[in-house]
């Protein structure tokens, strides 16, 4: 059977290699992709259009902001789907206790975590807010924030983490993240532009068109951060406790 499954793998591998012969040369100016005005527009105009120094952030949250909105929705779907599948699925089934060790939370671990969790959370806000200039943004900041709660759950237990970020509130925050992202898009549409045309926000905020985009990018990144942070924790809490939301790992 393993040999059999090797056949499609080799076939597709060969196909991909064969296709690779025809790739444009590295830095080939004559290839259509290099002549494409799309990339050169990003390089030349990002700073003018959006005032954002980090080109990646501008492409992600503005030029292709619609994709990013649905990527956020995908994260949200992942969380809700896990809740949908796991919640109530393990009623009546005894919990497997294979890997469990009965022990008090370790003194060294808990004290270290006590020290680093606030740092992680501040760093998460920094990464989120500084995404305009340096690598970062809503997804990375959200993951850091979610990880800080997972760290609490790992070093104490799930209840301790859920006392700080109740799982019921997670879904609320996640949905609010989507509403925030979509709401900024909808607001710019109601102000007379197209959906997600942040520049129209200049009509209600006293800033230039470029700066309107700059701040709107921050706004949608915060929305992404909301969703990602809470869904990270939802995923961990549900998977670790098989949907019971008690005990956990």
């Amino acid at each position: 059977m393993k040999l059999f499954s090797l056949i499609p793998v080799l076939a597709i591998g060969a196909l991909l290699l064969w296709a690779g012969q025809d790739f444009p040369k590295w830095g080939d100016l004559a290839s259509p992709a290099s002549k494409s005005s799309v990339s050169s527009h990003f390089i030349a105009k990002t700073g003018v259009d959006t005032e954002v120094p980090n080109m990646v952030t501008a492409v992600l949250a503005d030029y292709r902001g619609f994709d990013t909105m649905f990527e956020t929705v995908v994260v949200f779907i992942a969380g809700t789907a896990v809740i949908a599948i796991l919640r109530g699925s393990s009623i009546g089934r005894p919990r497997r206790k294979d890997h469990e060790v009965e022990a008090e939370p370790d003194l060294i671990v808990t004290n270290t975590v006590r020290l680093i969790v606030p740092v992680i959370q501040i760093f998460a806000f920094y990464v989120l807010a500084h995404g305009h200039v340096s690598p970062g943004g809503g997804f990375q900041g959200g993951v850091l924030m979610g990880a800080s709660f997972i760290l609490i759950a790992l070093s104490w237990d799930l209840e301790k983490a859920m006392a700080r970020f109740p799982i019921e509130r997670c879904l609320f925050v996640a949905a609010m993240g989507i509403v925030l992202y979509g709401g900024i898009g909808l607001l710019s549409m109601l102000l007379g532009g197209e959906f997600l045309d942040y520049a129209e926000l200049e009509k209600i905020f006293p800033v230039s068109r470029g700066m309107a985009r700059y701040y709107a990018i921050l706004g949608v990144e915060i929305g992404v951060g909301f969703t990602v942070a809470s869904i990270m924790f939802v995923l961990y809490a549900n998977l670790a406790s098989e949907g019971r939301l008690k005990e956990g790992l």
Binding site: P32, V38, T80, A81
Partner: protein
């Protein structure tokens, strides 16, 4: 309305967020919010179709974020393009979504207790994804929306019976492989053309003569195979029957008419808008062997359907056969075949909806959809059964229903292009479907109950038998969507010329041959 194309996804997107939030207020709000947002989206869909038909070049372009289209190749921002085909299929998606949402009330309360908010939230996002797939004009955005539709689908299926999670896992593995192949293909397109806009890609291919490029050939294969996996084309169909049979009833009602059909739309979109007719049919070898794969697919699916003893499972295999019809209609490389394919997407969505809504009601009332459990059902639920069989007759292809007209064009295409194998297999599978449905009619209409008393009317009066309508018919909230779906099947059949006119207007822009091309 100016922004109607944006309202199509704004309504269900915000609807789903509000539905998810409704559990903090009152979970009873989930259903009305879902129905209202779907109604709004459907209205926006109608507006969009009207605008697309009325506009001079029969398409409207919507620039998300307001970025320019002036550059060459275009594609700085993301573009939504609603030509007649896109808005027609999007309207079908939204219509089916609206009907299924209305229909879902009782099933969702019963089958997914305490999870209604999550269920409706996923359902609305599923419709958002599918409608977005139809309208988007950007190859990568299409991938993102495919992911939205697929992930919600996995969640919606896994909420079903005990075996649903395993079925959903199968679907997840195959679906992910399909989507990954598609994404890889889009990557290859991007490295050669430098844009992700569908029309932009085609312009670059045509001006730079990239048809012979190995990279483009492989991109075509990757995208093509990825989509074939996603649409459950025969060798890749294994996930579909299990997923649709074990899913909650409403899920199968929503996914069965839409998912495979929308993926066929994606295939047509890729051929016409991204690669172009000339590249797809003349520069690749798919034309020569795809119809033969279609023949194998239809024959196998027909036999598999014939061997089932349970309505839902039989319908699932019928979908696999229908996918074969539509794929064949595209790959016989003919104008009429393509009209038939597009028309069949529309009519198949409507008739599959009829059948699955009917099967769902039967499941609700009889607790089973096994052939043995439905004897004499006509005297109990005449309207349900009539609605169900309108769908069934349309699958067979009986004249007043839309299935007849779409199949007519498919057969014409097969004849005109000289692909006789396709023609023969269409005839063969039609006969199999006659057997399938008349076997059901025999059980449902002509049955005798245990005491030996004949309950059925048998001949003729499939319509309004007055006293018996009141006799234990399904609740109105389920019955009305079914009857609307059934009358849509008949209406599209009666007004088929209107639909075909629109499809022909759309195809004017593309150069499809009307005669024999394949040697």
């Amino acid at each position: 309305m100016e922004n109607s194309i944006a309202w199509i996804f704004i309504f269900p997107l915000f609807g789903s967020a509000f539905v998810a939030l409704s559990r903090y207020v009152n979970i009873k709000l989930a259903y009305p919010i879902s129905v209202l947002s779907m109604a709004g989206a459907f209205w926006a869909g109608v507006e969009t179709l009207q605008q697309a038909v009325a506009s001079p070049n029969h398409e409207i372009s919507y620039l998300l974020g307001g970025w320019t289209l002036d550059l060459y190749p275009r594609g700085v921002g993301i573009e939504f393009r609603a030509d007649i085909l896109a808005s027609l299929i999007a309207l079908i998606v939204l219509g089916v979504g609206l009907l299924v949402t209305i229909y879902s009330k009782i099933h969702v309360e019963k089958e997914t207790r305490n999870k209604e908010a999550i269920y409706y939230s996923l359902m609305l996002l599923q419709i958002t994804g599918l409608a977005g797939i139809c309208l988007t004009g950007d190859a990568f955005n299409l991938y993102v929306l495919i992911e939205v539709a697929a992930l919600t689908g996995y969640g919606l299926i896994a909420m079903g019976s005990n075996r649903a999670a395993a079925a959903s896992y199968n679907y997840l593995i195959l679906g992910t492989i399909g989507a990954s192949l598609y994404l890889l293909g889009v990557g290859y397109l991007y490295i050669k053309t430098g844009t992700l806009n569908m029309v932009g890609i085609r312009e670059v291919i045509e001006t730079h003569g990239l048809a012979g490029s190995q990279t483009m050939q492989v991109a075509f294969v990757l995208i093509g195979v990825g989509i074939l996996i996603k649409m459950a084309f025969f060798p890749f169909h294994a996930w579909l029957p299990h997923a649709y049979c074990n899913a909650p009833t409403t899920t199968s009602c929503l996914l069965a008419p839409l998912v495979t059909k929308v993926m066929i739309y994606v295939m047509i979109r890729m051929i016409l808008s991204v690669f172009g007719v000339e590249f797809s049919f003349e520069s690749t070898i798919w034309v020569s062997w795809m119809p033969w794969l279609v023949v194998i697919a239809i024959v196998c699916a027909a036999f598999l359907a014939l061997s089932q003893r349970e309505i839902k499972r039989m319908l699932a295999y019928l979908i696999v056969a229908e996918v074969g019809y539509m794929v064949g209609g595209v790959w016989i490389y003919n104008y009429y075949g393509l009209i038939g394919s597009i028309f069949h997407i529309i009519s198949d969505a409507c008739m599959t909806l009829c059948l699955f809504l009917g099967a769902g009601i039967i499941l609700h009332k009889c607790k089973t959809t096994h052939f043995d459990g439905i004897r004499g059902l006509f005297s109990k639920m005449p309207l349900t059964v009539t609605g169900f069989f309108v769908g069934g007759f349309s699958i067979i292809g009986l004249p007043p229903t839309c299935g007849f007209f779409s199949k007519w064009y498919l057969i014409t295409g097969g004849m005109v292009s000289g692909r006789w194998e396709y023609l023969v297999v269409l005839m063969f599978s039609t006969m199999v479907m006659v057997i399938l449905f008349f076997r059901l009619i025999e059980r449902i209409h002509l049955a005798v109950d245990e005491s030996g008393k004949n309950l059925g009317h048998g001949h003729g009066d499939l319509g309004l038998s007055n006293e018996q309508t009141r006799f234990d018919e399904a609740p109105l909230v389920m019955l009305i969507p079914l009857l609307v779906a059934a009358s849509t099947v008949l209406l599209i059949g009666v007004y088929n010329q209107e639909v075909v006119n629109q499809i022909e207007t759309f195809l004017q822009a593309y150069d499809m041959p009307t005669g024999v091309v394949y040697k």
